[in-house]
């Protein structure tokens, strides 16, 4: 019964109600969009680190990362790869041979991380192949192709089809060299990565390094979503108790730092925005109540109990919150999905050095967990914000109220 009254009250003064509803819509939209945007932005940032450099999880022999020596191997990598691919959440696996080597051209030489990987497998764990600037990702050169970074190519003064010599210590401890031809040159935002990471085919390197069949130093695992991170890591640890399984957070703590710290800031910002929303709604509803002083006074005068009046006002708020909130959710999600597809691009004014074509485009992502929390918080804010004004209304003296202009 009270609900009907509340409902009709809302529509008796459209302006007033619309203002409140609008405030809710804006607040809800703001909350949802901001979260999606922030998450999209973070993914973008993590993107480079994970998608191009580290991938989600890496598996090594426990001594490998410290000692960096060839002999700390994982055996039977191809079988392991097949097994890992079956795990839920995994959408890419690439076994890699990793050797510290020297690369030399007629111009000069340089120390590099030499990575032997299968070109197609590597594509499933890293998007480095999308950064190829010249040449191709392992196409075009049939014998001993190699892919290097732009910075390194400049240092060595070479280009696609140039020959380079790779020298390193093989599995027997002998120093061995091989001639390779450049199939492609990539360029990422990270010049020191470009200068030190050199890629060749798994089989070519395995042969040159005299490695046993199926031996490699690293297995990189890529997941379809961050949410599987711990789950997959634990599964891998239990599958291979003698091997070291690390997530990107441990491998590149700098990325993790930014990720987690940013989450913190995000929550604080959302709270600030909710506070702003709260104040806005309190003020608006307070004004609205003040405007209705006469009407409320009348109701009290004709005998409506204060408790009922309170409930009536609360119901009005609840309903307006629901209307406004739902609309806000709708708009928020729509805008998020739309920008998710088209992307929000920020100008790459950081063209201090060559334009990389790496525009910071953000694709907002709906993180349901946080989004639902935000939705609840906004609704609650809308409702709680009405309490103070409603209480204020109750303190009115009916006689005085009736006499207001």
């Amino acid at each position: 019964m009270i609900i009907h009254v509340a409902w009709r009250n809302i529509w008796r003064n459209p302006t007033r109600s619309l203002v409140v509803i609008l405030a809710m819509v804006v607040g809800m939209f703001a909350g949802i969009f901001m979260v999606s945007f922030a998450k999209g932005m973070m993914k973008e940032r993590l993107n480079h680190g994970i998608e191009t450099e580290v991938s989600h999880i890496q598996i090594h022999h426990p001594k490998f990362r410290e000692a960096d020596e060839l002999k700390y191997q994982i055996t039977d990598v191809f079988q392991k790869t097949k097994d890992i691919e079956k795990i839920e959440g995994v959408n890419g696996v690439s076994p890699r041979i990793v050797i510290q080597a020297m690369i030399a051209s007629a111009e000069t030489g340089s120390g590099v991380n030499l990575i032997g990987a299968e070109p197609e497998s590597e594509k499933t764990v890293s998007n480095l192949y999308t950064y190829i600037k010249e040449g191709k990702w392992f196409e075009g050169i049939s014998r001993n192709p190699v892919v290097i970074g732009q910075k390194l190519a400049e240092k060595l003064n070479v280009h696609v089809r140039s020959k380079v010599v790779l020298t390193f210590q093989d599995d027997q401890g002998n120093i061995t060299s091989g001639a390779f031809r450049i199939a492609g040159i990539y360029q990422t935002v990270n010049t020191s990565f470009d200068e030190t990471h050199v890629y060749v085919r798994f089989d070519d390197l395995a042969q040159l390094a005299s490695l046993q069949q199926g031996a490699a130093q690293e297995i990189a695992v890529h997941l379809s979503s961050q949410k599987y991170l711990n789950q997959v890591k634990n599964k891998l640890s239990s599958m291979y108790p003698n091997l070291e399984v690390l997530t990107w957070k441990k491998l590149n703590p700098e990325f993790g730092y930014i990720n987690d710290v940013y989450d913190y800031y995000l929550y604080v910002f959302i709270i600030i925005i909710l506070l702003a929303l709260g104040f806005g709604i309190v003020n608006t509803i307070l004004m609205a109540i003040l405007e209705r002083v006469k009407e409320l006074g009348m109701l009290m005068a004709i005998g409506m109990k204060k408790g009922r009046i309170f409930r009536m006002i609360m119901w009005e708020s609840v309903m307006m919150s629901i209307i406004g909130g739902t609309l806000g959710v709708g708009i928020g999600l729509l805008v998020t999905i739309w920008t998710h597809h088209s992307g929000l691009s920020f100008d790459s004014y950081k063209a201090g050095y060559e334009a990389l074509g790496y525009g910071s485009t953000v694709y907002p992502i709906i993180d349901w967990g946080i989004t639902i929390n935000v939705m609840i918080l906004v609704f609650v804010t809308g409702i709680v914000a009405a309490i103070y004004p409603a209480l204020k209304a109750l303190k009115l003296n009916p006689a005085e109220a009736l006499r207001t202009e």
């Binding site: 609008l22 405030a23 973008e44 925005i273 003020n283 608006t284």
Partner: protein
Amino acid sequence: MKTDIKLAWRNLWRNKRRTVITIASIFFGVILSTYMTSMQEGSYAKMVENAVRFYSGHIQIQNEDFWENKTINNTFVEADSLKEEIASVPGIQLVVPRLESFALASSKQLTKGAMVLGVDPQKEDQLTEISKKLVRGKYLKEGSDGILMGETLARYLQVDVGDTLVLLGQGYHGINAAGLFPIRGIFKHPSPTLDRQLIYMDLSTAQNFYSADHLLTSLAILVNEADEVSHIVNQLKAKIHSPYRVMSWDEMQPELVQQIDGDRDSGVIMKVILFLVIGFGILGTIIMMVAERRREFGVMVSVGMQKTRLAWMLIYETFIIGMMGILSGSLASLPLLYYQYFHPIRMGGQGGQMMIDMGFEPYMYFSLAPKVFTFQVLIIFIMIMVISIYPFVSALMLKENKALRA
């Protein structure tokens, strides 16, 4: 007009509650937006500082050829004239001299390539706080003949404090560099790459080792305020020329710039959203205020006040409310931010732990730079002026008969 302003003023105070509520919405808007901006600016500055304290400093002065070709032959003498030029630029907190080069580190069993960093122990510590990262042994004293090395490197070479390490390298002008060094301390550097490669040595010991007397590869500079970096860099570049070169951190680490700038850009979106919410809050209040006073306006107009005059009076009212809200908000936010500046918010949980692991303080910092205040205030002022169009137009479109019956 003056009378109208007076009228506007009196109108506002006739209904205190209404006015106060409206001012309050602006008040909170100002506080919240300055708070958020202060936090954003503060965290940005801190991020830069943390990153540069790892190794590079905000600015470096090097031999002009050094950046392209980092050999021991591209070194320079720290001439007095250079020292004076640097001292003449204000805002610089630290100037840290370094000699860095490659060397082969060898223990009884194993050999590995390493980066030797010859430093002034006191000054270096002020910049990178490396002494805090020590896990065993002692920090270097000035003139010490010993070295500090990363834990990962020590573990690989199977050495510890008290052992002797052999260092071999290429000295100045090709002279062979060979020496024995006692290990005085072991540190754990949060960056795995540095932990695997870094060896600290006293500057003069390093210069002796590389036969590079009085030579440096760089002077690392830390400034007082992060946002002054570009200004200071420009000043230095104007004073210091060939054979030296001045480089700022963003020139040395462009990847870092991308990361931090990305943060800034998203911060802009956050602020836009905040202003949107604040704007609607204020708008809502103003709309309600106008709606509530319909009758009053109706009376005024029917008694003879021109609608235009009423409209302008409302503008004055809005303006006054705006100014009062902004002023009170700004005044209130000052002490709040001052407090936060000196008492940053501690970060708990995973984020906080992460920061500690990196060797950073787990706090959210605030900035007191003037732009934190001025910019927000300006935006809010503009918003209010835009919002005031509503009452203005409302007044112009007023229909007396309807208004009187409100």
